[in-house]
């Protein structure tokens, strides 16, 4: 009887060990300072009307204050990084959106909207009371800009 169980135990342990080694994620960066590599490379390159046009220059944003995120949109595309913003429940979050077009930003889940125009940087401040993953988009052109992930404390 013992020998009968030995094979599944060994196979299972090996399986889990292999799965652990293969699937262990890299250590994540601190919220709100996540590197651009976390989000963008998984995405397809921005579209272009010309074959093999280089993608628009990425705007690297260093956050001087925690939970203050700058989002820059040019030519109907987000050009700032990162795509995924991270915060913790209870944080005061500020989204500053600079866009060369007029549109309406919508943060799903929180149901927050804000008018965006080229004249000025739009600012959306709120308390991250809900946990989860919430996408934000430009409503009129239906462009998903990124996501805000709010983790429990």
């Amino acid at each position: 009887m013992k020998a009968k169980f030995l094979l599944p135990v060994v196979v299972g342990a090996l399986l889990l060990g292999a799965a652990y080694a293969l699937l262990k994620p890299p250590p994540s960066a601190a919220p709100s300072q996540r590197s651009a590599a976390d989000g963008q490379p998984a995405s397809p390159p921005p579209s272009s009307s010309q074959p093999h046009d280089p993608p628009p220059a990425q705007v690297s944003v260093l956050y001087a204050r925690p939970n203050v995120f700058d989002i820059v949109v040019k030519g109907g595309k987000r050009v700032s990084e990162p795509a995924v913003l991270q915060a913790h429940q209870g944080d005061e979050v500020t989204l500053r959106i600079t866009s060369d077009t007029t549109d309406e930003l919508h943060l799903h889940g929180y149901n927050l909207q804000m008018q965006v125009s080229p004249e000025r940087t739009a600012v959306l401040k709120f308390t991250a009371s809900r946990t989860g993953r919430f996408t934000f988009e430009f409503h009129r052109i239906g462009l998903e800009l990124g996501a805000l992930e709010v983790y429990p404390r």
């Binding site: 599944p8 135990v9 799903h108 989860g132």
Partner: protein
Amino acid sequence: MRKLVVPALTVFLLLLSGGAAGCVLGAIYNLPIPFGMYASGAAGALVASFVVVAYVLGAAPSRSAVFSSSTSNGRSTLQAHIPRWLVGAGAWASVCCLLLTVATGLRGAPNILANFGMTFFWIVFGLGLTYATVLVGDIYALINPWLKLCDWIESFDAAAFRGQIRYPEALAYYPALALYMAFIWIELFGQIQPWTLSAILLIYTGLNLTAAWVFGKEAWFRYGELFSVFFRLIGKMAPLEYIRTRDSDPSYLIRARSPFIGLLEVHADHVSLLVFVIFMLSSTAFDGVHFTQPWVSLFWRHIYPILAARLDRSYFFFLSIYNAWQWSMLVLSPLIYLAIYLLLIWLAKTLANSTIHLRTLALRFAFTLIPIAFVYNMTHYYGELVSQGLQIVRMISDPFNLGWNLFGTSSLFRDPIILDAGLVWHTQVALILFGHIVSVYLAHVEALNVFPDRRYAALSQTPMLVLMVLLTTAGLWILSLPIDSGQMVTPARA
């Protein structure tokens, strides 16, 4: 070499998984589960497997004494007739819901999240009825709106749906499988708008009536109609079953039984039904992974650079290749699963030294995968049932978005209810482990029924155990994957 191995391995692992994001209404708020929960969940699956195995083997003195599913064991004598008027009222209510869904798709709110028909069909019907079926049994068989329409037409012409030709045996469940694939494709890639949902439902209604006329309604709704087959399979997990007592003027008997025992009472009767079950698993897995960063980067990091270096084409060309790649993987996913499943069934047969044909064994164990397929679905979507599904309470008061307040509920749930991420994580892990335990248990019980010797029966289940631990571990892993949030720029938007 590494360039080929890494993508291939990633495809293999990702397709063995269930989990994360992606839905027609795009309102999933799940966070990736922390890695620690994934690791402990996987270890829990392994421990639970051995506990289940020890219990099954320890509890059964012989293969037929306790676990024979073909006897009345596990069934209760508790049974009752369902009033015919109740079934009729339910079926007509179902027809009304179908009509309302079509009408609101054409004339209701254009926003997919605010449209009654979209929420009713994809969330209330597609998710809510699936989960309810596990609890109360296959009530869809009683209130199928398309079947009710056939019955209604028959009240004018009794011979309308007796069939013009005999349903070809070779077709088996393939029409339902093809429709299931189309359904998932529409869900994932169709970019459905309310009016297109209406059009699809009208086409599906026409298809059902035509097929029922050609093949006869009994045959079509047994083999061909997607939702009849789907809910019948899901309903086998329920502690209640409905038995039709008369064919000409049907009435129904409701009978209690042990939960999940219905999965062992009958077996898959055709390979097409096995593939249908496999697709339940693989489509949810694909749905779970096709928006995650590893999956998206698989193409854009590993395949796109190779293609772009060799082909002087615009970005849109590669985008179309990407779409074709996604669709191909969806269609291929059940074949990959099927190959793995058959390999492990063959190993089980070899270890058990059995002379039973591989096909027979594959069909006999097919339904034991349904609990895992179900919990994959539930971990993926149940949050959406709460957040978006409850919106139906508000929408029902104003289904056409005209400012009505028919039932006084139009101001309820204006903000979606979003479950706490910690609760969602724990529920996801618990559900996946629960499905794993049930599937392992059922497979072992079935093995005791199939193989004459308990020692061989236990040995035969080693490959199945490996399969289920692999599925569960990978399912938990994928729930921990970061979700891609890149700008999926489509040509229409560019």
